[in-house]
Every structure is written in C-alpha cells, then in structure tokens.
Symmetry: D2
Subunit: 351 residues, 4 copies
C-alpha cells in the first residue's frame, strides 16, 4: 500500500490554486492544509477541497501535522517561509526562484542538508516531456557537440508586481539551460529596458558563456505582440527547435548541419552542408506540474535528492545574478537603460 | 523622352547577375559594359545581354563611356574600385557594405561630395515595400514612441568566404534600423561564437542603445535549422511584426500595448492593457532591387542625394564597427568566444 | 435584485461536467439538482457542488423544484427526456442535436410552444465571439453577397459511440451555416466512408445548396493526422477565414476579390482583381458555453425565444437528414461507400 | 557521347517560356525551333535563345527537322496540333490536359501507338519529389491500406480564359490521385458554382470512389483569400500531409491511426488509438519540370512508355469527365448551381 504524505500549501495567489489541484490529485499526497492571509481565498479552497484545514497564521500551519510544505508566495518571502518550514522539520518545495539572492538560496540548501530534509525548487519546465526529451538527446550524444542555444520567451504579458522580466521569465530558460548543459556559465551579462515602469525592466536579453565554450542567449519580454516560446539548440550532429506554443510537435529534430571537411593533401578546409530528415518525436501529454509534485513526494519517500534540489535552485539564482549585476548604472529610470556587467574579468578591469 | 544613362557593372559573382538583370530592365538604364576577371562569366553575360561590352581590365572598363558604375565585388575591394570609379568621373553604386572600414567609407563619401558624383550603398532592404511601410508608420507617429526592436535573421546559410556573419547578415538589419530610427547608436556590443571555422563568427547577437533611449538587438546565424527573417517593433501605441518569410501579410500591425495610467487622487500607478485589432496592410509586390536601381538613376538625373548615400553607408559600417570592436580577446579561435566592447564608456573605463 | 432560476442537469458523461461548472458559475442560476444513473459520478458532483441534490431516478428529479432542465445524455434519449421535462412544466435545454430525427425535434418544438416553455438546443458555436462577429459582417453587408462557404472540421478524434461523424461533428458546422445564412438548404447530399467500424462513417463530405444560390461544403473526419477547424466565407466584397485552432486572430477579414467589370461601349466583360488589407478584429475571450447558458436563463426570465430555439434545432436536424438520407445503398459495410441522395428532386425522379 | 534530340515548342503564352527555359537547359535537348502566332513573342525567344529558329506557320514548323514537339497552347487546340505533329512523325509532349475530351485523348493515344511515337501528357506534379515520395510510401506498404484522400487547391487565382476551375486546377489533383492509386474511379461527381462569370465554375468540389473502396475529394477554387495546396492521405498504418506551400518539410508522415482491436473471447470490438512520431523526409530540390522533360527525352531515346503517357493522360481526362458530366441542369448561369451526375447508376435510375 502506498504511504500517503500529508501535504500543505502556503500562498493562494495566482499560482497556488494550480498546486492545490495537483496536491489533491497526486497519489502519494494527502492534501491536509492551506495557509493564506486572505480568508476569502481560504474559503474557496475549503469548499473545493473538503477535508483540508485552513490557516491564516503560518505558525499554526507549520505546527500542524503537515509533513511537506509547498510555498507559492511572493519571491521576497520565499527565504523566510522556507527557513521556518525547514526548522519545524518539514520537507519544502519552493516555487521558482528558490530565493531572491543566491546567498539566501545557499543558506536554505545548507539548512536542508543539515536537517536532512528534502528541499526542492519548483522549476516545472525541467519536468516537462519536451525538456526531458532534449536532455536525453544531448546526453546520448545524438546532437553531437552543442554549439549554441537561443531562447525566446516573449508575449504581451501580465506584469509581475514583485520582480522584473528577468526574474519572472528568464528564470525558466536559465533552469532549462543549466539542466541541459550541466555546467554553470563563467560569464554572463544582460541588456534591457524599463519601457513602462520606472526601475523595472520589461524587456531584456541575456548572454551566457560556459567553460566548455558553449554560448546561449535568451530574449524575454512582457511587451511583445505575438507570443513566442521558442528554443533552438544547435549541435554539430543535429539541431533542435522546441516550440512550446505548438499544440503538438513541440520538439523538431533536424538532421542538418555544416561541418569542416579535412582537406585531402594540402588543400583548403572545405565546408560540407548536410540536409536530412526532420523528426518530431511523440511526447507524453502528462502534466509537468503533476510529474514534478510526484517527483517531490517520491524523493521524500526515498530520501533521494530531487532533480531541482537546493543546489540546482541556487545555481539558477546565481546565473541570473551573474547576468543581472549592474556594472554601469545604479538605477533604471523609465526611459533609461540597464547595461550590466559582462562577467568578472571586465568588472575587475573596470574597477 | 527619357534620357538613358549608360550603366556598367563590375563583378559577376553571386550577386552581380541580379544587378545585370535589373540594369537590362530599368527604363533609364542603357546597360553597356561589364567587367570581371573571369572570361567565362563575361561570355555568359555577353550572350544574355547582346550589346553589352565586356572587360577583364578595370582600367579599360573605367575608360569606356559608362556614366554609372555598379560594384558587386568582394568587400575588401569596394574601397579601391569605388575610389577609382569616382576619380574617373563616374557615379558609383557599391553593394553593401560600402567599405570594410568606416574610415574608408568616409573617404569615399567625401570624395563623391568633392567631385559632385552620386555615391550610393546597395542597402536593398531600405527600398523594400515592407520596410518603407514601417518607416511611414514610425514617422507618422502611428506606432507612438518606439520602445525597442528585435531582429532575427537566421538560417542554415551559405557561409560567406570573405567576412563573418555580422558583416554578412547583420549589415541588413543595421541598415533597416538606422533608416527607421534616423539616429546613430551611442553604445553597441556583440557576442557570438566561431562554431565551424576558426576566427570567423557564424552566430552572433548584437545590442544597440540609442541617444533617445531606444534599444535594439539582432540575432544572426548561418547555423540554424529553420529560416527566420523576423523583426518586431514595439511602440507605445502600436506593435509591428515584420516577417519576411511570409508569402503575404509580411507586416502585421497590432493595436496592443501596456501603459501606465495616471492615478486618480493619491493612488498607485495602474497598468492598463490594450488588446485591439490586427491589420496586415496590402503591400506592393514591386521588386526592391529594381526600385533601388531606379532610385540610383533618378538621383543621377536630378542630382538629389540617394536615400542610402555615402553618409548612410558610412553610418552602417560605423555601427557594425561599434558592435564588433573586440574589447576582451584579440582573436577568435574555433571553440573560443568573442565578447566585444560595450560602447565607449566601458572601453575607456577598462583602459 | 436578480431573480435566481433553479437549474438541474441530466447526464454526467463527457460533456455534462462542463455544463455543471457553468451552471454553478452563471449569475442567474441556482444549481440545485443533478441526475445520472451512475452513483459514482453523482458523488463526485455532490462533493464539487455542495448544496446540489443528486438523483438516479429521472422522475424524482423532474418532480423536484427545478425550473430549468439541461439534458446532456446520449442523442437517442434526448427526445424522451425533453418531452417528459416539458410535460412537467420545465424549461428545457438539450445538448446538440435537439433530437435524433427532425420529426421528433418538431414534436418537441410544438410541445414547448403549446406549453409556453422555453426550449433551446445547445449549439454552443452560435454563441461564440468569432461566429457572432462573422454573422455581423454578413448581416451588415460588409462581405457583400456571400458566394460560398467551405468548412473543415477534422482531427484524430475520439470516436463517438452513439453516432457517426456527421451527427457528431457536422452538426456544429450546419448550425453555424444556418445561423449565418438564415435560410434552409434546398438540396443537400453527403459522401463518406466507414473506414474503421462497420456501418459508421468516420469521414464525410457534405454539400448544401440554398435557394439564394449560395453553396457550402463541409469536410468532417475523426481520422485525420492534423487538427483543422477552418471555415472560409467568400463574399463579393470581403472574404473571411475563421480558424478556431488559432490562439488569437481566429477571424481574418480579407479585402480581396474578383469581380466582373462592366464593359465600356461594346467590349468584353473584364475581370478585375482586388488585393487590399487584411484585418483580424479583436474578439472577446468570453466563454461561449457561459454566454449560451446566460442566454437560456435570460430567455426564461424574459419569455423571449432563444437564438437556437426549437425551430432552429429542428432546422439543423432536418439539414443533416437532407444530407444523410441514403439514396444508393441501404447499408454501409466496412470498406463500402455511402453515396446519399441529392436532395428531393433527385430522389423523386429516381423513385 | 549523349545523342541530342532536336526539340521544338509550339505556344509562347503563359507557360511556354518555362518549357523553353528547360529545353535550353536539358542535356539531351537541342532546342531548335519555336512556333507562335505572335511575332513579338518569337522575337523575344530568338534573342534569349540564339540559334533557335522561329515560325508563325505551324506547318513549316512541323516540316523542320525537329524530332520532338512540345505543345503549350490553349486546351481546345491540343488535339489538332498533337495529331498533326504525330502524323509528321514527331514525338509529342502535350501540356495538361492531353485533350479536351477523353475520346480525342484516346484517338491521340492510339495514333501514337500505331505510329510508334512517344506521346506524353505534361502532368508535372507526377514528377515532383514530394509526389514521387508519397507514391513510394504507398507502394511499399508504409501507409498500410489507403483509406481516403483529401485535396485542397485554392487561392485567389488568375482566371483561366479557356476552361473552368475543374479543368484548370483539379486536373493536377486527379493526375496525382491516379498516379498514386493506380486505379480508375468507378463513380465520380462534382458540385460547384459559377460565382463571377456566367457558365464557368470558379469553385468546385469533386468526389471520387474507387473499385478498391477508397474515396477521395478535391476542393478547387480561384476565389479563396488564402492559398492552399494541401493533400491529406490517410492510411491504416501511417497518415501523410503534403503541403506544397511549405518552403521545406512539404511531406509530413505521421505514425498515427485508429484501428479496431479484435475482441478477446466474446467481448466488443475495441478502438485503439496510435500516436507516434512524425517524420518529414528530406526531399530533393530538383525542378519537377526539368525532371519531366528529361524523362520525355529519355523515353524517346529508349523507346519506353512515359510515366504520364497517352493512356495516363486519357485516364485523367476521363476522370474529370466522370466528375463533370451534368446530370441535373443543362447550363450554369451566374448565380446558378451545377449539380452533376453521381456516377452511372444514379443517372440511369433517374432516366
């Protein structure tokens, strides 16, 4: 018989209700408690999930018999809530990003290790079938050497009240990028503009360079007329376009490429072009959020480290910070520009 | 009766035959001479355009009665050929880019002014109906304040033998950008990689910041599985997507946006979202190359400055240089990275 | 203060839960009772909508204080359930199609008129913003004379257990067609094949000719690799493509056409081609099902005839019958073909 | 050494110049003569293809030493010109359709056989890489049993002066259909409307039923706002979408389907759905017209029957006739409808 894990949720804003639905659905979850400051939201949950207790006080919530806590609150509160949940002996799932600074993310990571609790960052895309499929293609060598990656995540978006577009949208791409490559960038920078609001970038472009030589760029925007969720992964043997707006055929694998042919005798290097078939593999329709929560519960049961554990969550925050550190200007007035530091060397040189 | 202008062409490589076809077709052109080092190419031209004289010697070509010279040779030869043509009293059209350095482009520009000859750079896109339409939308205020522009020009491309992908492809986007905005960037940088060949970038990303605060980025690649020719122009009143791969509806104008609403009384600023109609204006199917050559001949006749005159051509080269100057590393080995200077301030600070 | 109407639902299969959700949401609805033969389904509803009474016996359900009954049961049961609901004084909403024969649909229509009850057929598309927008374009004369219509509704579909693909999918297109044109076809026929199952067509093509001269065709399939929901409406002044698979820009209005120009003097008629702008009007994102149920409740309150009243529902069934009557062969074996009667004239002639 | 065949062309209207270009290019062709009534067109050809003799008189043209004659004149003249060319001992290529009636096409076919001359109908699509690829998929059994085919060939088209849309556009689809299936339809009918001109259908829908049970439909229109060149081939093992408007990936092979699973014991038949990968095979970019003309010249050299020989050309005309015969109404006034005979049985029954 499956042992059920008593789960509880803090935060019923935009994203929380999705987690609630999945907690009610997951096989190993006994969804027992929700916590929010707003009684109206709690009432709605109570009606929809009878048997779930409601709390407006987070201490009372943490003192309940909940074993695993999911946190879906504004980013600025992640650290404090996760810390308290870990200290009361809970396993903790934190919506992305894990914390608002990498230092705080590292602290949570260490605390979870010391207390032997599972800590997981909610990077849902890392559990989605297209992203997992591409990870397999990279790891199996099907793509050959990955040369560069290009991400576009733009639309006419709901402006996030807490953070800028980098912390809101680029976090997704960075989590996918780090999962695929398995290495941290050695240099990063970003470039963007605060178009609508003072001091909050709504369009940006990020660049990453990795120790292996691989490079990546990522365009994010809340201010774009057409929605794009497009990633291009160029390898020496295969190229992939992953378009998440496609209803099917989200992943297209192209047997295309350009390579240098070794010269015979003492001739010049020659370029050879390869144009082969395209394959769109069938992908599971399983809901990533459900896969993710099942994974969290499995890790609690087995004691294994989650794929997006505290270390992974901290790496994502650190990569965003590397790209976001401001080298030029301290503030971002409306109609002003943010040009950020281009990695360490440059910052040091300029110092 | 229309006065005909005697036209001649130097360079019958990849692009030259297209210019020849248009010179034979244009109403004001009397296509009289071609020049190339390769007699086989000259013979083919002579058969196709009887009445056109052929030259393997550029001096003899320039000493013929040709009035207007079109140059479609490798970039490294533009300066020298254009210079000699101007000095022998010809009007000169040079394929993009005008020269391989902005200093040389400036020299040509000054020489043309001094000799009172028309000098034009072959930035064909500036004459294409979609680009002209968007220029009208910007100048008329229909788009409101232009906030940012995003260009993608990627495909599995024919590698250019002479130059890297920035000098080959980004030149198009920069010419469009400068034409639309009518201002020079004050900062620029680029980031890319030499994936296939040593010391020649085949993928790159460029950033530009303008004195008005507007920003733009441009992704170019010879190493991409799907062809993209997509430009997004975001204004405060309208947003435009220009997709040159579409057979029709290349320009789509979206009445969409986000703006800050002034607060009533002492409340907070509110964001208001606008979602209106989309219009794809009907555009002429006229061939941009023919429009461009007609414009060159009209300017010779009238004495007016071409839209893409020497000054414009020099600006394009200068903007590419701003983005291409190497601040970090002197060379670009295969498997190495180019991270370039971020405008002047940074370079000076780092010095 | 809004008067609430006590609503009840029969049938909790595939579609019923969607109606339940909307009944719980609609402002004028007090969702009080559900009826199904399966207690498990009833329990699920009771948990989700506390305060709603559950019935396994339809007589007890009808004897409750429910004022308006919604029927979402297999098509073969529509007539009997609607009849009994009307006879117990309820207002009745029947999922499409209204009944399995036009004679039975007519009987329901007459019964509702005699008993002064509202009877409405659940043709949801007739309430969707794109379909309503196109109705306005037709009625206002914007499209000019409608010349022909082409419908494609194909995908790799869930095979309906009760009926063939015409009764399952083409019913949608026919309801849209009759709503737009406001006339009944005078001739109709269909052509299809029973590919997978004996005696049940899974692919078909229908033709309709209207007294006004307008023609329409409709392709439906459960056996198609790509999903299409595409309708093309060709008028003498404008042409429209309505693509329901598009996330936005579902309706595109083209200012394109071909017309005969009257000859000057005694010359020939000349064709003139018109190629103008395309406009994709912004459309409301309101849920058609909620609009539909609100309309039903409004009609109960006001006594007005619903847009898709019994007469409309009967017209749809009659048009499907016109196209479905079998003139050639009595049965449809697997690997056999159905070629159906081409309207009345032909059937009578052949008799 | 390759023996050259002296080729000549009659008809320099819309299509003729394309044939001329290919005749000048094909390795086995010595392009020696052109014939047209219009001296201006002849002059243009003479300039472009020096060494090609020009004729305004078809008898003189046929009395020249031309060995193979290509006919690209209005459809009504095909029979007479082909007949005379055969009688003067030429091999003959006739643009599609081979003749304006199947009786005349049969006469040409028999004449060519009697005189031992090659006769070929210009069904270019039958030589295009996508169509050939799909033929291979069908013949190899990769698609399983072909269940049905759906063709859409619509756009805002240039109205053909000679014939209606069925004879202009559907001829393409019928040639592809007969090539793929290798059988003649046993029943066919069509339905359409004369929207713009009297007595000339500009939109139509054709239906075909084959002895094997397979069915096909084909929508053609000169009066459609968006261009479609889409064919869907549904087999029991694989489904294919062939979209000729795609710049690449014209053929997509879907491993999708629905099949009946044999019941275990005495249970019901169960439907099983299969959703697998999609593959877009790389296809040659070779020009179909050049492949076609090379094939014609190869057949002249070898004496083999062309793939689209007289018999094939006659079958296409016959299938169009089967679908076009008018059973209901003798004429087609503007604003009137053509409802045509539904195969033989129905016509006889109605008689």
């Amino acid at each position: 018989m499956t042992k059920m894990i008593r789960t509880g949720l803090i935060g019923l804003g935009y994203w929380g209700p999705n987690l609630a639905r999945v907690l009610a659905q997951a096989q190993k979850s006994e969804f027992t408690a929700v916590c929010d400051l707003d009684p109206a939201r709690l009432n709605r949950m109570a009606r929809q999930y009878p048997g779930t207790r409601t709390f407006t006080d987070v201490n009372q919530f943490l003192n309940s018999d909940v074993e695993a806590v999911l946190i879906a609150t504004p980013i600025g509160t992640h650290y404090e809530l996760a810390r308290r949940a870990l200290l009361t002996g809970k396993h903790v799932f934190v919506e992305k990003p894990l914390a608002d600074t990498s230092a705080r993310a590292a602290e949570l990571m260490e605390m979870a290790a010391r207390l032997d609790r599972r800590l997981m960052a909610g990077h849902t895309f890392v559990y989605s079938p297209p992203v997992v499929k591409i990870k397999e293609l990279i790891d199996s060598g099907t793509l050959g050497d990955v040369r560069y990656l290009s991400f576009s995540r733009v639309n006419l978006g709901l402006y996030n009240k807490d953070v800028d577009v980098v912390w809101d949208l680029a976090v997704h791409d960075v989590s996918i990028l780090l999962y695929w490559l398995g290495e941290m960038p050695e240099r990063a920078c970003s470039f963007g503009r605060c178009c609508v609001q003072r001091a909050k970038r709504d369009v940006a472009n990020l660049w990453f360079q990795f120790p292996s030589g691989r490079v990546a760029w990522c365009e994010v925007s809340w201010l774009s007329p057409q929605k794009m969720r497009r990633t291009c992964i160029v390898g020496s043997e295969r190229m992939v376009v992953y378009d998440d707006t496609e209803p099917s055929e989200k992943v297209r694998i192209y047997d295309r490429g350009v390579n240098l042919r070794r010269p015979e005798n003492f001739g010049e290097f020659q370029l050879s072009y390869r144009l082969g078939d395209m394959v769109a593999p069938h992908l599971s329709n399983a809901e990533p959020l459900l896969i993710e929560i099942d994974h969290f519960l499995d890790c609690i049961e087995s004691g294994a480290a989650p794929r997006t554990d505290g270390k992974f969550g901290q790496d994502v925050v650190r990569a965003i910070e590397m790209a976001s550190d401001i080298g030029w200007k301290a503030g971002c007035a409306q109609e002003e520009l943010l040009l950020n530091r281009m990695g360490r060397e440059l910052a040091e040189k300029a110092a």
